[in-house]
């Protein structure tokens, strides 16, 4: 016998529990159900996830839910048709759950969790500055959020004819270039596009070489404040000898690389101290011999796990073109035993060439 009773009232905490397990696309739609759902869903935050990119696809990995033998990953469908360009697509920024992706037709802002996206073909001519292979070979990018104007900004740094760096700052809201700056000559080599600017606390950071006086060149960090649109330079810790990189780990800007003893060491920049060079604190150093097999392999920290352990991956020095090579291994560093525990399970046919950390949000690129 079919019952035709009225549904009982479902308690809020159960509704929230149900919503929590829905995919992003459904949640983006259900924001329109009523005001209380809208406010709950807009504030919903998840643990950070890691996106692995190959030149033709993306996978999102939940390392927290993974065990040592099974890495849990899902394929992310890129929303746009990608043509036959040599480079496929490259992520050149990650901020508030949105990725800035460059592909052969131009730029797109993509929320990989909800699938929301916005092509930015009108922002600047994608063909300008492409090299013979269809890549933005020489440009550096940054993608960040400006709280003061509730706007996303794209920073593009390119080399001008007189060998200085030209910077253009684009606003997503006004869809135009807001400012052009030429960086002073002291700012030398800025790393290439596979390492986009790191966004944290309203500013973007790139690793650079900085000329102190006329004789010595120092490792440094270029900082761009998105609200006042000013650049400044922060000198790096002196310890690094090679393979230095920047990353955002545990909510702080970190610099990591190898020192004279061949240990991978990691320093964090202290909050709100932006001048001079006393603002770095050493977080850890991994006293391990260089990785075996191929000489060029080295460790790259990815993120801190909820329990405080460090997740690392490996890079390999390939040709002169890119610093980071194919990444296929993931390790958890056991600080007590000073050993690396390998995590297995990523599809072996999936050649990872880049890892990006992001947080799942329901931010819609179409709002800007």
């Amino acid at each position: 016998m079919k019952r035709t009773k009225q549904l009982p009232h479902v308690p809020d905490h159960i509704i929230l529990e149900i919503l929590r397990s829905l995919p992003g696309k459904s949640l983006a739609r259900f924001k329109c159900v009523c005001k209380s759902w809208h406010s709950f869903l807009s504030q919903l935050k998840y643990d950070h996830k890691v996106i692995l990119c190959s030149s033709s696809s993306f996978r999102s990995v939940d390392f927290e839910a993974s065990s040592r033998n099974i890495i849990k990953d899902v394929r992310l469908d890129f929303p746009l048709e990608v043509g036959g360009g040599v480079c496929g697509y490259t992520v050149i920024g990650s901020c508030n759950g949105l990725l800035l992706v460059i592909y052969d037709e131009g730029l797109v802002i993509w929320n990989p969790w909800t699938g929301g996206h916005k092509a930015l073909s009108s922002l600047f001519d994608p063909l300008e500055n492409f090299d013979d292979f269809g890549c933005y070979f020489d440009d550096r990018f940054g993608f960040g959020y400006d709280h003061s104007t509730d706007d996303y900004k794209i920073v593009r740094i390119s080399r001008s004819d007189d060998n200085k760096y030209q910077v253009e700052i684009y606003s997503l809201k006004t869809k135009s270039c807001q400012k052009r700056i030429t960086l002073p000559w002291q700012i030398g080599y800025i790393k290439r596009r596979r390492q986009p600017g790191n966004f944290i606390n309203g500013a973007l950071y790139w690793p650079i070489r900085y000329a102190v006086g006329f004789e010595s060149i120092s490792l440094a960090v270029l900082r761009f404040d998105l609200s006042n649109q000013e650049f400044n330079v922060i000198l790096s810790p002196k310890e690094f000898q090679r393979r230095e990189q920047l990353g955002v780990l545990g909510g702080r800007l970190c610099m990591f690389g190898y020192n004279r003893e061949n240990h991978m060491c990691m320093w964090a920049m202290e909050d709100n101290v932006e001048n001079q060079n006393q603002n770095w604190i050493k977080l850890l150093s991994i006293p391990l011999p260089p990785l075996e097999e191929t000489e060029g392999r080295f460790l790259i920290p990815v993120c801190f796990m909820n329990n405080g352990e460090l997740l690392l991956t490996t890079g390999q020095r390939k040709s002169y073109i890119e610093l980071i090579g194919d990444i296929q291994e993931f390790f958890i560093y056991d600080a007590e035993e000073k050993t690396l525990k390998e995590m297995r399970g990523i599809n072996e046919f999936f050649t990872v060439y880049k890892t990006i950390t992001y947080t799942q949000t329901l931010v819609s690129p179409l709002m800007y």
Binding site: K2, R3, K5, L7, P8, H9, V10, P11, I14, I15, E17, I18, L19, S21, L22, P23, K25, S26, A28, R29, F30, K31, C32, V33, C34, K35, W37, H38, P79, T114, G115, G116, H117, S364, L366, M367
Partner: protein
């Protein structure tokens, strides 16, 4: 030990389950169930009563019908440690909750959800919430309002703006 030999002759009487205590549960509509304590304590609520020594007489399970309580007990039996030999079998059995095809299915899952909430049975609650999530993930906003009996408090303009912002989520 010689307990087995002495027990043999005299004790064929009241507790067939050996030393396992039986609890008596009574549903909202008066149906009475006898359940092993070890099984019923999968409910955090009942476990609390047992721990506090409040489970000596019939336990009234208000808000839960006999029909639903029988389903809950079936769940408990399947999830008792050692009752199902392997994880795969359990997953297969659980998968019957994964699809909510018609209205009576929906009512069942709804009833189970409320019972799992009232009796505080975390595993059952998880299973039901993901079954509901699976059933609603493709629904439109209007269908969601109907499903959860929610009235929209957006005015037309607000809703239009929101839809525009999340436009891709409404496609196909």
């Amino acid at each position: 030990m010689s307990t087995a030999a002495t027990a043999d002759a005299s004790s064929s009487g009241d507790t067939t389950e050996g030393s396992v205590r039986l609890l008596t549960l009574q549903s909202e509509d008066g149906e009475v169930f006898e359940v092993k304590e070890t099984i019923a304590t999968q409910s955090v609520t009942i476990k609390g009563m047992v721990d506090d020594d409040c489970a000596t007489s019939t336990i009234p399970v208000c808000n839960v019908t006999g029909r639903t309580l029988a389903m809950v007990i079936e769940w408990w039996n399947k999830h008792e440690i050692g009752a199902v030999s392997n994880e795969k079998e359990l997953k297969e059995w659980e998968s019957q909750f994964d699809t909510i095809d018609d209205k009576s299915d929906r009512d069942d899952v709804y009833d189970l959800l409320m019972a799992a909430n009232y009796l505080n049975i975390p595993t059952l609650l998880d299973c039901c919430t993901s079954a509901v999530a699976e059933a609603i993930k493709g629904k439109s906003t209007d269908e969601m309002r109907e499903f959860f009996d929610i009235k929209s408090d957006f005015d037309e303009k607000e809703e239009d703006a929101l839809r525009k912002e999340n436009q891709w989520a409404f496609e196909n």
